[in-house]
Symmetry: C2
Subunit: 356 residues, 2 copies
């Protein structure tokens, strides 16, 4: 079994020491990483159980190979072999993995213990990975890839210990969106620190990150919470959960309709608007829905930077606009705790998993 | 002379009442606005002196017409006639205008007076505009378009009175970037309110928005300021201005090099990193240059939302990332005051204008 090389000094906290090509690149931007299981003293090695390919990546591969599962499997293997990581060269995306901690370097700051079952919360697109079983247990037909091999975490990587009391799939779904409730809670707390309990609107409130954000906003002390959804069915689902005080129906891509719906439901614009819908064109509506001096948190990857910047300027909106950061200290624990504390939230997640 | 129609109630503060096609769109997204000089009671009408076309828009038109100035002029006229605003249908961008306030509706909240010479700080892409002189004084060869006609400001439009003590061109250059120093100053103040004088790094510190941000950071009470520039010539220019405590040379597109340069110059990562360089690929470097718990302000329109969001997550960076909003109350006055108070800053701007 490979172990830490005692002659080595610590690696780079962000993994620069594993970049083979081109030298000086960040691991995510690199063409090739050194994925050897031999460790630097501040690293952690994981024995891989399963890869979760990013949905966009799997779709691209399946389409390219006309849904021939053998060809998909062969290409995933070839990518990992060539790049030392699972990063789809077309989509640039990776995914995450589940495994068991195999060895912890003496200088690792991650607080992990050998035997911990963990999910990596940094992307596979920057995680050194070696596969040893040829992915033979994978049928090539889904994003869930049973696998054996080894992966490496750097000093600043992020991994969450999978809880015993929740099914893996449920934990993974929660961990996938755990940045949103954490940042929402922090922004709400900032308002409370200044003596003002905020009204919070979550656009896309019935989705995974949206429902989590609603639960987090309420628990953090929001004065009122509003979930905005596009269709009646989602409104019904959300109402059943009692996660928020108000529910409104609106197409988030229609700025005037969205702002009118928020204002009608809250009696005022929102102090904090959280954008959790993955469709383009929600920037102007979320800005118009937000009070002067308020905050918009963009969690949707479909957000256009320039549409947000120019949109606020175009309507003279004095709003603080945040790029949703997927990482905050303690974010995984906070999200898992929210789920455990609220049966309705858990039910909503379980239904979403069953429907996927 | 057209005047306010007394039978009308106020318009929409963001100009929805002027949208002809498609109904319900925001003025910026609209295909066509009603640009008639007849006013709603909360509007202001401006007698136009000059249009400043957006650089990207003018370039597109000049290229399309192989630099035939007559053809460029004819197309600008045709666009304004067809759309009721000057919005290049290919680039989507507009520009700004200078003119004299011609009439102020009784309910306008903008605080303008008939006879004020103003520059509009909202884009021409959403400003109702009629041209009455066929742009005959324009040679079609530059972005500066002498013009006669009328433009309309809504209740939430933004216009700055042009100061008597500065040349128009200089004022316009300052107003064009005035959001950056205002937001930088506000973020610095937020740190001071929490008892911590921040170290501020400005990437692209020798440019217009960058130099303004450095001046604003220092005046707001930053502990130390650092200007990062890509080439020695810019370092020399910036050193002469004495606008910042430290100067570093680095290619902002190289994350590792940028972070190393910032850390070497400040002895630590920055509390606040302001990104003012209009080249793609500066997200990761600016994140790595910022201390845990710090703030990155993205002012570059070349910023990629997803690169910022995923970049921070990929290196487990607990940083607050702000979309640079071009509007804050008082931003124009703050920027003009900064220029007046600092001869070196003024000289830098004048040189940039002469070089353009």
């Amino acid at each position: 079994m490979p172990t830490v090389d005692d002659d080595r000094s610590d690696g780079s906290p962000i993994g620069l020491h594993r970049v083979v090509d081109p030298p000086g690149a960040l691991p995510q931007a690199a063409a090739r990483l050194d994925a050897s299981p031999e460790m630097w003293p501040d690293e952690v090695r994981i024995s891989v159980e399963r890869l979760n390919l990013d949905a966009a990546s799997f779709r691209q591969l399946a389409t390219k190979h006309a849904d021939d599962p053998e060809a998909v499997r062969a290409e995933v293997l070839a990518i990992i072999e060539a790049r030392g990581k699972m990063q789809n060269p077309v989509t640039g995306s990776g995914g995450m993995l589940i495994g068991v901690v195999d060895e912890v370097g003496p200088h690792s700051p991650l607080g992990l213990t050998v035997g911990d079952r963990v999910a990596t919360l940094v992307s596979l697109s920057l995680t050194p990975l070696q596969i040893t079983d040829g992915l033979l247990r994978w049928d090539g037909r889904s994003e869930q890839v049973p696998a054996a091999g080894s992966a490496v975490l750097f000093a600043r990587s992020i991994a969450a210990v999978l809880p015993d009391d929740l099914p893996d799939e449920l934990s993974m779904a929660v961990l996938d969106v755990c940045g949103a409730p954490a940042l929402t809670a922090r922004v709400v707390q900032g308002y409370l620190d200044r003596g003002h309990a905020p009204a919070v609107a979550v656009i896309g409130g019935a989705g995974k990150s949206g429902s989590m954000s609603l639960a987090a906003a309420r628990r953090a002390g929001a004065r009122r919470t509003l979930g905005v959804v596009p269709v009646q069915h989602e409104a019904d689902v959300l109402r059943e959960t009692r996660l928020c005080d108000e529910i409104a129906l609106a197409d988030a891509r229609n700025p005037v309709a969205l702002a009118a719906a928020v204002e009608a439901a809250l009696g005022t614009r929102a102090d904090i608007t959280v954008v959790c819908v993955d469709v383009p064109g929600c920037e102007h509506g979320s800005i118009l829905s937000t009070a002067d001096g308020g905050t918009v948190i963009f969690f949707s990857m479909a957000t256009s930077f320039s549409a947000a910047a120019l949109g606020a300027e175009g309507v003279a909106a004095d709003v603080t606009m945040l790029v949703g950061n997927g990482y905050l200290p303690g974010h995984a624990q906070l999200a898992l705790d929210l789920l455990r504390a609220d049966d309705a939230l858990r039910t909503l997640f379980e239904r979403r998993l069953a429907a996927d």
